[in-house]
């Protein structure tokens, strides 16, 4: 009786999360996968098992190489944003985490400052996006300041609705995803290692490269996975901050969903998922994150 109970207990304990995971993640994913093989016309969607949607997604893409088709160009643009945002959030995240862990002595101050990094999440995504307009718009604060200071004679118009604006807003929201895991890794670094490095004659930069970066690798990998997966699928920031003029893999799907073309949207979603999984797989090959989980 007792044996029976103890054998099943772990399963019951894991069941609620497993159920949530199944209903809200695995099931929709399976449905998406199935729907991606359906057919559709302007006014109907028919269950089927055809690869047409995937062919359409890559319409003439391979035939017209080396010229890039729309899909490839969209993915290239998305990947470029992804790389840029990843690099900036990595440098920012590492620097901020380093500052919080190694420069701040008081634990209270460290906790307060770490909480401050979550400020971007204190308001909804929509309000956050709208708030950029009075700051970056033609008559926004930044332009007024630049003109007031005599740096420019007329408003700079690439501040808003531009690749710059998209990158800025993505960096703004995603830096914290980089900070937290790196912070977590860095907090585990034994302070005496830093002293040991100093004792053996390492300069501060040498200590960072030879001790802190290698020991923060897991945090960097986890943060990178967060940032890359979020940015690859983003359509809100790209849409609003790009003035609906910049294409992204997520935005393509969104447009197709708005047009009720679910099967092709599903096919694109599966392609995007595959691309993201490939990127994550490569990152996991480079860093063994199990070591610190």
């Amino acid at each position: 009786m007792l044996e029976d109970k103890s054998r099943w207990t772990p399963y019951w304990q894991a069941a609620p999360l497993a159920l949530v995971f199944f209903v809200f993640f695995l099931l929709p994913l399976a449905v998406t996968f199935v729907v991606s093989f359906w057919t559709y016309t302007g006014y109907s969607i028919e269950p089927a098992f055809v690869g047409d949607n995937y062919v359409t997604a890559f319409d003439k893409c391979f035939a017209s190489l080396p010229d890039l088709c729309t899909t490839f160009r969209t993915y290239l643009s998305t990947l470029r944003f992804c790389l840029l945002v990843w690099l900036i959030t990595l440098v920012l995240g590492f620097t901020i985490a380093y500052y919080l862990v190694f420069e701040i002595r008081s634990n209270t101050v460290r906790i307060v400052l770490a909480l401050l990094t979550t400020i971007p999440f204190w308001t909804s995504n929509v309000i956050r996006m709208i708030s950029w307009i009075p700051l970056l718009g033609r008559n926004g604060l930044v332009n007024q300041a630049l003109m007031g200071a005599g740096i420019v004679s007329e408003p700079v118009d690439w501040l808003l609705y531009s690749p710059f604006a998209v990158t800025l807003s993505l960096v703004h929201i995603n830096t914290v995803f980089m900070i937290v895991p790196i912070l977590n890794s860095m907090l585990r670094i034994d302070r005496s290692l830093i002293e040991a490095a100093y004792d053996t004659g390492a300069s501060p930069w040498q200590t960072i490269w030879n001790v802190i970066v290698p020991l923060s690798k897991t945090g960097i990998a986890i943060g990178s996975i967060f940032v890359v997966t979020v940015v690859m699928g983003d359509f809100i920031s790209v849409g609003l901050m790009g003035g609906q003029q910049i294409a992204s893999a997520g935005k393509v799907i969104e447009t197709q969903i708005t047009a009720l073309q679910f099967p092709i949207a599903a096919a694109n979603a599966i392609v995007l998922l595959a691309v993201v999984l490939m990127i994550v797989w490569v990152m996991l090959r480079l860093v063994d994150i199990r070591k610190e989980l």
Binding site: S192, A197, Y198, D199, T200, G201, Q206, N210, V211, L215
Partner: protein
């Protein structure tokens, strides 16, 4: 391989805000000395070591190593090397790369690095483990790697911060003997911080006993044990009875010099509170008629010629020549 050098501390002081951790201490350690800084926690021994190492700035006074005042120099420029309490081996680097770390920082070529690291590892008999990660080594092995990493820089003085505290009792004694052997073979000074008087007695040529930021007494272990300068020292090194004399003065008598007899009229009356068998000796806890707690250490054979039981009334006495005056 290393050049030994004298170390001198001249009224060295360390203040943290309003608290004085190390209070104007003067100290001379001749080249090639095994020196133990001994004291309870918070006595300033670690701060002193860290100032010598260059990990802590000196608030006042000078640290002179060889011919040179080293106050402002970083650790690697001083000719000191430190072995940390938990060894502080880099967990992501192999044993070889841990040892070669300082050479890499200096820009030594890969081949030379590897040769020198292997030499240092041979010295501590760890070259077989060169490719392992620190986590794959036992505590004693990690300690040897830490030693090799410190020695590869050719230090004039090796600083050890409670190097044995992470080891289990058996290993402690073994590693202790190894440390002493390395020091003898290298001929450089070792400065070893510890709170264990046993460790200090076993290792040191020179023991510095610290209390509340000051040096209470310094000298060879035998000198200190036979002539503790103060009550603090007598209590800290143990094995002494502190006996108040008339006029507020205090004297000490070594516990092994206290004689206990069940007959006779000489000496003070006392009751045996506790009998502890220790193998070669027997510890007797006594309460004298005057209300004083005393300890007597009796050789096993002497004890069992006439065993004494708990609660028995005895007489304790000692020779006048075994009475040692303590400074107030």
């Amino acid at each position: 391989m290393a050049r030994a050098a004298d170390l001198e501390l001249a009224s060295v002081t360390k203040r943290y805000g309003d608290t004085t951790a190390v209070d104007s201490i003067d100290l001379k350690i001749k080249a090639g000395t095994y020196c133990c800084l001994l004291g309870p926690s918070g006595c300033g021994k670690s701060s002193t070591l860290r100032m010598i190492a260059g990990h802590e700035s000196v608030s006042d006074g000078d640290i002179v190593l060889g011919p040179e005042v080293v106050n402002g120099l970083p650790p690697a420029k001083r000719g000191t090397a430190m072995m940390f309490q938990s060894y502080a081996l880099f967990p992501h680097l192999s044993v070889r790369n841990n040892v070669a770390f300082s050479l890499k920082m200096k820009g030594v070529s890969k081949v030379d690095r590897s040769i020198k690291a292997t030499d240092a590892l041979k010295l501590v008999d760890m070259e077989r483990y060169a490719e392992r990660l620190p986590s794959q080594l036992s505590g004693g092995q990690q300690q040897r790697v830490a030693l090799a990493r410190a020695l590869v820089t050719d230090p004039q003085i090796l600083l050890l911060d409670e190097p044995l505290s992470a080891l289990d009792p058996f290993l402690k004694i073994k590693v202790r003997a190894e440390l002493k052997r390395f020091q003898r073979e290298l001929g450089i000074s070792f400065i070893h911080v510890t709170h264990s008087q046993e460790e200090a007695m076993a290792l040191a040529d020179l023991i510095i006993i610290m209390n509340a930021g000051k040096i209470e007494q310094q000298g060879a272990p035998r000198e200190i044990f036979n002539a503790p300068a103060t009550e603090f020292v007598a209590r800290f090194i143990g094995g002494h009875n502190i006996i108040p004399e008339t006029g507020g003065r205090k004297v000490s008598v070594r516990a092994d010099r206290v004689k206990v007899s069940t007959d006779g009229e000489t000496g003070t009356g006392a009751v045996v509170r506790e009998v502890e068998y220790q193998g070669t000796v027997v510890y007797l806890s006594l309460a004298t008629d005057a209300g004083l707690e005393m300890t007597a250490i009796v050789p096993e054979r002497t004890f069992y010629e006439r065993p004494i039981e708990t609660g028995e009334s005895v007489r304790v006495h000692w020779d006048a020549s075994d009475v040692h005056e303590l400074a107030a």
